[in-house]
């Protein structure tokens, strides 16, 4: 690896990977269990026997053609959810709701009145989105204590249901989405399905240190780790995450998924239990870029209940097929080449840039000079908003309430002490400190100014003619849980959000696309960051990239072998796909 940190510019550093990791898996290997990603020249042949491994678009076509019914699909997904319970991906499985929705969907299909691409498609929703009649916990004792059941649906949930999607359940997360591992919620950590993949296991066998396999499972990343695990383990076809500093893209990268953080203001936050209102965006986790585009097409647009959504009408998202990238200009931010970046990710990043360059795109090094202030700035703004947003959890209207009734103040204190974990309480304390009259100017206002500088960095770069930025999503591939918890939540969050959080600061759309497997057989994703509200352009480029890299499908047959029938669908002899 010829990457001299100190001297070389990013551009010159691009090298091809000489050996080791399985960056491009031959199509034949993919075919074994699950079909490859998007249809088209290389993925159009549907020789697989399974349905669950398919993309949303494929299964949607199968539903329309009657090769499978929504109820069958729903039951298959439910059985996998049960099978993969140990992953801890779901906090609540809404089996009855899903089956009922499937039944209704089936009726619609029978009448030929399907509601659209999502009709009958199993989806999962992160447990910080309000779901009417279904318990919503934020993985916190504060809401779980009394079993908080929202009386309304988040706008994004409602939009999915209006399209006929089947809600399989609510997925696990870090408490109130504060974390980057999905390890810090009251329901315990989420396990990365790749821990049990054939790809990873085989690599480990080669190294064979006879470690206890069970204790060596990997984290999913977070905070939308439950959603990532749910999609990755084939329990659903798409899941909602939330993304405040990278919480959708980070687990997507670790779980080999596409993780989309749309532009701030494109998708309604109404009903999303907030972490940082000015940065939160509902995120989308899917197995391919096309699927993310379909879901975004359903979710995007003005919501009268969220004043920060754009007023302009949003056109339907149809990704044009991109064959020529020669007119594209890809920016490589030099500040993202940090010493902490693993050599493997660095190599893949270089390789991706080379790929674009070799196909005729202009690839240039760009500078985002305020990047290094991002983490500190984010810390101040995030904790301040957290302190404010968490003030409502006082035990009065809903959620946990302690037994102490000496005084209202004592009740507040004990309720919040019992309801929140250390991470949440720590952030509340810091945030309140930054908001004190004596500190406001020195911390909050300064952080806001830095945020503006960070946002302006992107404006400058995009104004210079760059179409998208190409960066790593994470420093490395997923690490074992035992490794991860050696550092505290705050350190981890600061480290892990490094490449992702600037997009939240600037409100830009960003997507993590899985590129290849590491030496250890684990997914590595790269991130594209686009211009504000150019989500479609961003996804178009991401899809082109996805097609080039042919990321391998996770092979979970060992995990599922005793329920192979679940994956079989004899009816699916041929599914024709229209694009």
């Amino acid at each position: 690896m010829q990457f001299d940190q100190s001297k070389c510019s990013v551009l010159k550093g691009f090298v091809t990977i000489k050996d080791g990791c399985a960056h491009v898996v031959p199509a034949a290997a993919v075919d074994l269990y699950f079909c490859s990603v998007s249809p088209g020249p290389c993925g159009g042949r549907l020789s697989t026997r399974t349905m669950l491994g398919r993309t949303l678009r494929e299964v949607s076509a199968a539903l329309k053609q009657g090769h499978i019914t929504p109820t069958e699909l729903c039951q298959k997904c439910l059985s996998i959810i049960k099978k993969t319970k140990f992953l801890n991906a779901y906090i609540t499985v809404s089996e009855e709701v899903a089956l009922k929705q499937a039944e209704e969907s089936e009726k619609r299909y029978k009448k030929g009145h399907s509601l659209g691409d999502l009709d009958g498609i199993p989806i999962a929703v992160k447990d910080n989105f309000s779901t009417s009649g279904i318990e919503t916990t934020c993985a916190s004792n504060m809401l779980r204590g009394k079993g908080y059941v929202p009386p309304y649906n988040a706008t994004v949930v409602q939009k999915l249901l209006d399209q006929g999607a089947l809600l399989m359940g609510k997925t696990n997360l870090d408490e109130f989405a504060m974390g980057s591992g999905s390890t810090d919620g009251v329901f315990g950590p989420v396990k990365n399905p790749w821990s049990y993949s054939k790809q990873y296991r085989e690599k480990r066998k080669q190294k064979s240190h006879c470690e206890n396999e069970d204790s060596n499972w990997l984290i999913t990343g977070g905070s939308s780790g439950g959603s990532a695990a749910a999609v990755s383990a084939f329990t659903c076809f798409a899941a909602l995450g939330s993304d405040t500093g990278g919480s959708t893209r980070n687990p997507a990268a670790h779980c080999g998924l596409v993780g989309l953080k749309p532009s701030y203001g494109l998708v309604s936050r109404h009903g999303l239990i907030p972490l940082v209102n000015s940065m939160d965006v509902p995120g989308i986790l899917t197995r391919c870029v096309d699927d993310a585009a379909i879901v975004l097409g359903v979710l995007a647009g003005h919501d009268p209940k969220d004043s920060t959504t754009i007023q302009d009408p949003v056109k339907p998202f149809v990704l044009p097929s991109l064959t020529d990238v020669s007119k594209l200009c890809i920016g490589i931010p030099k500040e993202y080449l940090t010493p902490e970046l693993s050599s493997e990710v660095r190599s893949l990043w270089s390789k991706a840039a080379n790929l674009f360059e070799s196909e005729g795109a202009k690839v240039i090094e760009v500078s985002l000079p305020h990047t290094s202030y991002s983490i500190v700035c984010y810390h101040v703004l995030c904790t301040s908003e957290v302190a404010s947003n968490m003030a409502r959890f006082d035990g009065l209207e809903y959620g946990h309430r302690c037994d102490i009734d000496v005084s209202t103040e004592a009740m507040y204190a004990a309720t919040r002490r019992e309801g929140f974990n250390d991470v949440v309480r720590g952030r509340i304390l810091s945030g309140n400190f930054f908001l004190l009259k004596e500190n406001y100017e020195n911390y909050f206002v300064k952080a806001q100014k830095v945020r503006r500088l960070i946002a302006n960095d992107f404006v400058t770069v995009f104004n210079s003619g760059v179409d998208v930025l190409l960066t790593p999503t994470t420093l490395s591939e997923a690490v074992p849980y035992t490794e991860f918890i050696k550092e505290d939540n705050r350190t981890r969050s600061a480290q892990d959000d490094i490449f992702t959080q600037a997009a939240n600061m600037a409100g830009l759309p960003a997507v993590s696309v899985p590129m290849a497997l590491s030496n250890q057989g684990l997914p590595i994703g790269l991130q594209f960051i686009g211009r504000a509200f150019c989500d479609q352009e961003l996804l178009t480029i991401a899809r082109w990239f996805e097609k080039q890299v042919q990321f391998p499908v996770i092979q979970l047959q060992e995990l599922m072998d005793d329920c192979s029938s679940v994956f079989e669908n004899e009816k699916l002899a041929s599914v024709s796909l229209k694009q």
Binding site: F129, S130, C138, L143, P150, P151, Y152, A154, R269, H270, G271, L272, I273, P274, V276, N277, S278, P304, K305, D306, S307, T308, Q311, S384, E385, A387, S388, M390, A391, R392, F393, D394, L396, E397, Y398, T408, E409, Y412, N432, L435, L436, K437, Y440, F444
Partner: protein, 476 residues
Amino acid sequence: MAAPMLRLCCPGRRWALACIDGCSRHRRGAPNGCTSSRKRGQSSVAQQPFITAQKPRKGEHEWAAVVGLEIHAQISSKSKLFSGSQVHFAAPPNSLVSFFDASLPGTLPVLNRRCVEAAVMTGLALNCRINKKSLFDRKHYFYADLPAGYQITQQRLPIAVNGSLVYSFCAGKNRSQVINKTARVKQIQLEQDSGKSLHDDLRSQTLIDLNRAGVGLLEVVLEPDMSCGEEAATAVRELQLILQALGTSQANMAEGQLRVDANISVHHPGEPLGVRTEVKNLNSARFLAKAIDYEIQRQINELENGGEILNETRSFDSKLGCTIPMRDKEGKQDYRFMPEPNLPPLLLYDTESLPAGADPQQVIDIDRIREQLPELPSVTREKLVQQYGMLPEHSFTLLNEVGLLEFFQNVMKETRAEPKKVTSWVLNTLLGFLKQQNLAVSESPVTPSALAELLNLLDRKAISSSAAKQNWKRFR
């Protein structure tokens, strides 16, 4: 001594000004109840508190009082400031509460256009500069009737600034001299009302009613340009009339639609202002004047006895007639203001800046609101004086008594009697009677038509004046 002597009539009602004879017996008194604490100027204070406050006996230091006001007026709107719940006084507890009002997690504020228009209209009526860009902030404090743990207000950049409130009162021996005073309006801000806490001391419980939580408020901040309770009460009364004329608030103090906090300090003229106290939640014009005058005198007494004034929040005990420190265990609150991230800046336009092709439903045009401004009370009074040759002080009384102007105008419509005669009958005979009976104008046993008929008979000399006065109550 310029400060005029004012009279507040008839305890129990809301008339701040009544310039007619016959009710001067209800002379505004000094703070009573806690009078034992007063040591100086006792005798004159009892009669003329405001003068005493500023002009003590010779040889003593002169004291001047400075009074500023924060007035919260509930906006008269169908729904709340940031939610679709209805606004109603006296609805069953917790029957007008949306998910947002109850601060359910994930709910977001959506600004009510009507409330913005009301704020702009009020700002224009108070000669304010309307900010074309204003911002919303969160003000944090924990309280049971504040479900979100913060109130959304406009701390940094309010919707209207730098206005003035002109208020007048009648002074002089015959109360025939109209004196105009001006209180500067520092700002008008839009903010949420809180819910209501009902403390059940017996069971040591607090019951929460969120019907009021999130109702739109206009906070009008008056600079410390007033110097006594009477001035403050008169300014508030004028504001009340303006809000009612605009229809932006019903401004009924008894129903809590208008609530006043007063900032009070005393100092020696020529010296820096003294430490101020804040007297909170004054809910009648009479208590407002009383509380301020009491507080002024208390501060003077405190200072003259070598004490010091604490920057504290006090409340007015209307039974005892004195102000008492509010329980504030935590010391001074730090509200930890921060920008409300869920509301973009509020942008207003005028005819010039209105974007071409803008959806009228999406933009607010200040100039259009200006065109729609109704007649303000000062203009109405002027018209009465000009149209009917009425004495200015009579025009004040007609407007100050709820419903009296309408009564007067209805009588005028149906009678050929001289306006002066009608004025005299309405203000002296009728109003005197109503006050004696403790009745509101709307409860008058005599209708405008009946009075008009009586005056016609009188005009035709069908009955004598004395007979009319004796028997007028029978006309119904």
